[in-house]
């Protein structure tokens, strides 16, 4: 097994490569995730067609597009969450994380998911204490020293901007937190194992505007340290939080580029029509 922990932290890329969709020239950013000619299918139903894009490190990349366009499937490909679905498989192309093909047989999937954390649409804390929610992943990773865990719990909760709100009740049940706090707890849980990448699948769709604002502010702070990929149906949110945006339609990446460009002057008519609310 190849340990992803020992992977090079970043893969210097020779840009640009041949892509099937318009891709704006990016500044000399370090590429964390390299998706190349990716095809993916659920059984005989092909849902991703020849997708290629470079996701820069320490930046926020948003995937947008109508329901069923493949954006969540691609997100779940990045930490191989789709392995859990029967008959779902990559049928072509590759995803490299820090230079290593994540679908190579020798890759340890548990290790991959430690390095690529995920936050889901609906917060899903364990029915345990706040403390245990964070410490669980650390124990799985073989860390048992109490002082080390305490330190990691505080660091993660601070990182998720939740520490001040829960520091006096770490032993209370996580399910007693508000929806927004639960979602931030899930982010803290993902951060505890010190990932390089955090995937977020519509992380604010069930939250009120205040909780949403806190998560968005958190995303802005987290990108200093992590590579973040977010799927969102909220166009304004994509515009606010992301540095790069990819628009997907019918399983194809139609356009990928700087968010400002996508939202002021997209190159593709289908992008323009979707983001301006003319179809979808």
């Amino acid at each position: 097994m190849v340990s992803l922990i020992e992977m090079p932290q970043a893969l210097p890329q020779q840009l640009p490569r041949q892509n099937e969709c318009p891709v704006e020239e990016t500044e000399e950013a370090t590429i964390m995730i390299d998706v190349r000619d990716l095809d993916f299918a659920y059984g005989s139903n092909k849902v991703l067609h020849n997708v290629s894009l470079d996701i820069p490190a320490q930046a926020v990349t948003a995937f947008i597009g109508p329901s069923g366009c493949g954006k969540t499937t691609l997100l779940r490909c990045i930490n191989r969450m789709n392995d859990l679905i029967e008959h779902a498989r990559v049928t072509g192309g590759a995803i490299h994380l820090g230079g290593v093909d994540i679908n190579a047989p020798e890759v340890d999937v548990v290790d991959l998911r430690r390095r690529v954390g995920m936050v889901f649409q609906k917060s899903n804390p364990f029915p345990k204490s706040i403390y245990e929610n964070i410490s669980y992943g650390l124990r799985i990773a073989g860390i048992n020293k109490r002082s080390q865990i305490d330190e990691a719990v505080e660091k993660s909760l601070r990182g998720a901007a939740l520490w001040d709100e829960v520091k006096d009740r770490l032993d209370e049940g996580a399910l007693g937190l508000s929806g927004g706090q639960q979602q931030r707890l899930c982010i803290a849980r993902a951060l505890a194992v010190e990932p390089d990448v955090v995937l977020m699948d519509e992380p604010c769709s069930a939250l009120d505007p205040i909780a949403t604002a806190k998560i968005e502010e958190l995303i802005h702070e987290l990108k200093m340290q992590y590579t973040i990929v977010i799927v969102t149906h909220n166009m304004q949110q994509a515009g606010r939080v992301s540095d790069h945006t990819g628009f997907f339609y019918l399983g194809k990446l139609i356009e990928f580029g700087p968010t400002t460009k996508i939202f002021t002057n997209p190159s593709e008519k289908r992008t323009e029509d979707y983001i301006t609310g003319r179809f979808g």
Binding site: Q236, F263, T264, N265, T271, R278
Partner: protein
């Protein structure tokens, strides 16, 4: 080509209303400018007074466009070409309003000139007003038809208008020295020439905004940037 309709019909209606108000305002400003110029050349005080009175309606439309633009931004959070059109509409309206202000100024100066015997030097204003008026009309036309080439052409014509104004001012200043009795009249003509030159400046701004709306390109201050 007309873009496809939005799923949200009220969004189309709001954008259409904003655009129609801008076009109506431009039409009124053009009419006001035309009346002021005719009032000057035909020595018609009534036309001048009407031109001055028109300004009120244009001022109200400017406020309405600002209100509607903010409303569209708030309610629909437009992006891409929609956003550019809203931003351009909101930037166009103050320029149109200032064109109408220049027309009012011209009408006021014309009424003063009409109190005295005609000055042959008024002929100096003929090419200047024709140039300024065509710039304004074409700028609005470029915005309406999203014609980037025409908009760029309008911008490129501003230098010629500036030169015409300078030449006329020099000639009129010379006449003031030669014929001090008509000093007030020449001074009024200098002001009118400057007003027309300002109309060209506003038309240039409108042309630049038309390019932004249609092609997402910012062509402002390009000469200055290139020089530095």
């Amino acid at each position: 080509m007309t873009p496809p309709k939005h799923i949200l019909g009220t969004f189309d209606e709001a954008l259409s209303s904003l655009r129609n108000n801008v076009l109506m305002m431009a039409g009124l400003a053009e009419r006001t400018l035309d009346r002021a110029i005719k009032g000057l050349f035909q020595r018609d005080d009534n036309l001048c007074t009407t031109a001055i009175a028109d300004d009120e309606e244009i001022d109200q439309l400017e406020k309405q466009i600002d209100k509607d633009g903010v409303d569209v931004l708030l309610r629909f959070q437009p992006v891409a070409s929609d956003l550019r059109r809203v931003v351009a509409a909101m930037k166009l309206s103050p320029n149109i309003e200032r064109v109408a202000d220049q027309a009012t100024n011209i009408a006021r100066r014309a009424r003063k000139l009409n109190k005295h015997s005609p000055l042959p030097e008024i002929e100096l204003m003929v090419p200047i007003q024709a140039h300024a008026m065509s710039m304004f009309k074409d700028a609005i036309d470029a915005f309406t038809r999203e014609d980037v080439d025409l908009a760029r052409d309008v911008v490129s014509r501003d230098n010629a208008l500036d030169k015409m104004n300078k030449t006329a001012s020099r000639r009129l200043t010379q006449r003031m020295a030669e014929d001090p009795e008509q000093l007030r009249g020449y001074l009024n003509l200098i002001f009118i020439s400057r007003c027309l030159e300002r109309v060209g400046d506003h038309a240039t701004n409108i042309g630049e905004d038309a390019v932004y709306a249609a092609a997402a390109e910012d062509i402002r201050h390009q000469t200055a940037a290139a020089a530095t």
